[in-house]
Amino acid sequence: MATTRRQPTKAQIRREKVEELVIYPIDWLEERSGLVGGIRYFLFRNVPSDINWMQTLGSAALTAFLVQAITGVILAMYYVPSAATDPATGKPVAWESIVNISDNLTLGWLVRGMHKWGASVFIILMFLHMGRVFLFGAYKYPRELNWIIGVLILLTGMLEGFTGYLLPWDQTAYWATVVGINLNGTAPILGPWLAQFLRSGQEIGIETLPRFYSLHMLILPGGIIALITLHLYLVVRLGVTSPPWSKEAAGGEPVEADEPARRPGLTRPVPRTANGTAMQAEPGGRD
C-alpha cells in the first residue's frame, strides 16, 4: 500500500462505486446468513490431489437425479393421474394424457423420454457409485453413516422406479404392479397391511393411481432430497478419500496393528525403538 495518496481519478471513483454495489449485497447476505462463507468453503475446500475419474460417479448420479426432478416437475403440469375412462374415447384419462405428452406437446416426447430413460441412468449410476465406494473401501471409518444413507438413497430411488412404473396406466404398468403389490403382500405381519395401503383397498382400482402418484412425486422425492442433502453434507464434512493404491494417498495407507509397515517413510516417518528396529508405522505417527 502506498503511503502517499494521490487524488483518485474519476474512473477510479466510478470503479469503487461499482465494486461497492456488487459487494454490498454479498456482505449483507453473509452477515445475516453465513451462506457466502459456506459456499466459499464448499468450492475452495481442498480435496486429495490424487482423486480420479471414478470419483465423478457420485456427482454424475446427482446430475441424473436433477434431470429427474426437472423433467418430473414439467410432466406434473400435463399428466392427469386418473384411471377413470374418458367417455369420448373409451380410454383411461391417465393413458391419454401420456400419449398427449408424447405426441402433441412441443418437445413433450423429450421431457417424458428423458424422465423415463433418466430413471434407468440414475439407477445405473447409483450402483456404479456404490461399486466405486466399495472398491476404495470408502465406507470405513469415519464414513460408515454415509454408506448407510447411500443405501437408503438407492432404496428410495428404486421405490421411485416402482411407483413411477404404474403412472402411464398401460398394460405393462398395470400387471407388473398387480404382481408387485401381491409380492409385497407376502411379507409377514406388515405385508398384507402394506399391500392394502398401496392398493387403497382389496383391488387395484381408481384410487390406486393417485396414491402412487402422490408417493412418486411428493413423499418419495421429499425423502430422497433430504437423504441426498445429508449425504452431500457428510461428503463435504468428512472429505473425499484418495484412491487406496495411490503413492501419495492422503492419510497414508492404513497399517493394521499386527502387520509390519510395508512402505515406511512415504507419508510419515517410522519411529524407531531403542534397539534400532523399525516400529510398526502408526497412522498419525507424524507430529
Binding site: 400419449v99 423420454g113 430413460w117 434407468s120 466399495f134 448407510i148 398401460d170 498419525g284
Partner: protein, 281 residues
C-alpha cells in the same frame, strides 16, 4: 518427537489418528475442489445429460411410425403399451429392468415351499448385509489387494446380480398364440375328457401360462408351480373356482392375481380342466 507408545493402539485410536492424518494431508497438499475436481464433475455430468437425451431420442424416433400408433415398438420399446385393462389377463407381468434380478429370483424359489425366500427372504438378507457392511468389515485396510475376502464377495455379488438380470431379460415369454397350438398335445398326453377342452383353450389364452408351466408349455415365473398334474391332488371344482377368484384368500401369501373378472362360466371351465389334469402319461 512424541513418546513411542508401548502398547498397540486400539482400533478406534488408529482410525482416529489415520483420519487426523488424512485431514492434515489434504490441507497441506490437496487441491481446491473448484476448479480442479469440479471440472471433471462437469464433464461427467454433461456426458450423463447427453446420454439421457440420446436415449430419449432413439426411443422416440425409432418407435413412432408413420401411422402414429403409440404402441408400436421401436429399438427401445413402445412409447406406451395398450391401456390398462383389468379384464384381459393375457399380459405377462414384467417389471422395469432393474427389478429383473428380483423377478428372476422367483424362478429359482418355487411355490409354495420356498417362494417366501425369493419374495422376502433373500432380498431382506441382502439389504441388511448391504446396510451393515461398514460394521461387518471393520478393518482399516482400504487397498483392494489387501482385502481378498471383500473383493471376492463383491465380484460374486456383481456376477450373481448380473446373471439374474440377464436371465430375467432373456426369459422366454409364453405368447397365447403359440401356447394355443399346444392344446391338442395336452389333450393327448393328459387324456383330457371333452368337457375339459374349453378350459384348456382358456388356460392357454387367459394369461395362465405367463407364470405357470403345463406339460412343457408356458413360462415359469414369479414362483408359480407347474400344473401338469394339479388334478391328481383332487382339490375339487369348487376349490379351484374359489382359488381363481381370489388366490390369496385360499392360499394366504399367494402373489397370483385374481381372475374373478373371467366370470362364473369360464371359471367353471378352467376348474374342470385343472381337475382333469392328472399328469402326462
Amino acid at each position: 518427537m512424541a513418546a513411542i507408545p508401548r502398547e498397540k493402539p486400539s482400533r478406534i485410536a488408529q482410525a482416529r489418528a489415520g483420519f487426523a492424518q488424512y485431514k492434515a494431508d489434504v490441507k497441506e497438499r490437496g487441491k481446491a475442489f473448484f476448479p480442479y475436481a469440479m471440472w471433471h464433475d462437469t464433464i461427467m455430468s454433461l456426458v450423463v445429460v447427453f446420454t439421457i437425451i440420446g436415449l430419449a431420442a432413439i426411443w422416440k424416433w425409432s418407435a413412432w411410425g408413420p401411422h402414429h400408433d403409440p404402441t408400436q415398438k421401436g429399438l427401445l420399446g413402445p412409447i406406451v403399451d395398450p391401456p390398462a385393462d383389468p379384464g384381459t389377463t393375457s399380459f405377462v407381468p414384467r417389471p422395469d429392468w432393474y427389478f429383473y434380478f428380483l423377478f428372476y429370483l422367483l424362478r429359482i424359489f418355487k411355490w409354495p415351499e420356498s417362494v417366501f425366500l425369493g419374495t422376502i427372504g433373500v432380498p431382506t438378507i441382502a439389504l441388511v448385509l448391504l446396510l451393515g457392511l461398514p460394521f461387518l468389515d471393520r478393518r482399516l485396510e482400504r487397498r483392494p489387494s489387501a482385502r481378498p475376502v471383500a473383493m471376492v464377495a463383491g465380484v460374486l455379488t456383481i456376477l450373481s446380480m448380473g446373471i439374474l438380470t440377464w436371465k430375467g431379460a432373456t426369459a422366454k415369454e409364453a405368447l397365447a398364440s403359440e401356447v394355443i397350438q399346444d392344446v391338442p398335445r395336452w389333450i393327448q398326453q393328459e387324456n383330457l375328457p371333452p368337457a375339459a377342452v374349453p378350459g384348456a383353450k382358456l388356460f392357454a389364452t387367459a394369461g395362465c401360462t405367463a407364470c405357470h408351466t403345463y406339460a412343457g408349455s408356458g413360462g415359469s415365473n414369479l414362483g408359480a408351480p407347474d400344473l401338469t398334474n394339479i388334478g391328481s391332488r383332487n382339490l375339487g371344482i369348487q376349490f379351484q373356482i374359489n382359488h381363481l377368484k381370489c388366490p390369496s384368500c385360499v392360499n394366504p401369501g399367494s402373489p397370483m392375481p385374481k381372475f374373478a373378472s373371467l366370470g362364473e362360466q369360464r371359471l367353471h371351465q378352467l376348474a374342470v380342466f385343472l381337475e382333469s389334469s392328472k399328469g402326462t402319461h
